[in-house]
């Protein structure tokens, strides 16, 4: 059982939960369990091609899963997953 922290703007798609507990042996399985339970979250997290949107980062505890085994990263009981966007910008290119 892993715990997924839901960012504030996405809680409206997760029955207002700020934290959701899901089953899954890997990060990918846990995320699939999340969007199966709350289908409206899917379009916020995944592209039409079924890949995590480019601005979506997933952290296992305090570590970016891209530097572990991405969505195949194994989960242990009590792990916490956080969904964190990539954000940048700049005045030029208007």
């Amino acid at each position: 059982m892993a715990r997924i922290l839901i960012p504030t703007p996405l809680r409206q798609f997760a029955e207002k939960n700020d934290t959701v507990e899901v089953e899954g042996a890997t990060v990918g399985e846990a995320l699939t369990a999340l969007i199966t339970r709350f289908p409206d979250l899917k379009k916020n997290l995944y592209s039409d091609e079924g890949k995590l949107r480019s601005f979506v980062n997933v952290y296992l505890n305090d570590e970016d899963i891209r530097y572990i085994k991405k969505e195949a990263t194994p989960l242990a009981a009590g792990d916490t997953l956080s969904i964190v966007p990539s954000i940048a910008g700049g005045a030029y290119g208007s």
Binding site: F55, I87, A88, G89, G90
Partner: protein, 141 residues
Amino acid sequence: MIHIERGPWREMINHAQAAYPNECCGAMIGAIDGDNKTVTFALALDNVSAGSQAARYELRPEDLLRADKEARQRKLDLIGIYHSHPDCGAYFSETDLKNSCPWYSFVVLSVQQGRFDHANSWLPNAEQTEAAKEELTWPES
């Protein structure tokens, strides 16, 4: 609409003016009641954009994760992101749009010759193709 209380507003303005002629960035934390957002706390974050920061900013996702934890500890919400545009208007540029996410309010602070000039708040869409202007108020607005 989004309202920024006096304390965080002053912190954001001071941050933007101190960072001039570079861009600054940070997180806005507060409460959400339906469509009304109130920012009660601003958290200055590092601009980690490589190279010149005069017209670029980038947040570390780890810092945003820390901001979200800070909000949760205060029983508040991470509402949005602010950044400055030195010697430019508070528009939402193509660069801002392509590197945004649709989950948060994006407040842009225009700093002209080192002094705050004006601000706007923007709500980007999921496809990162356009951003709608959001009503923004602060104590002196």
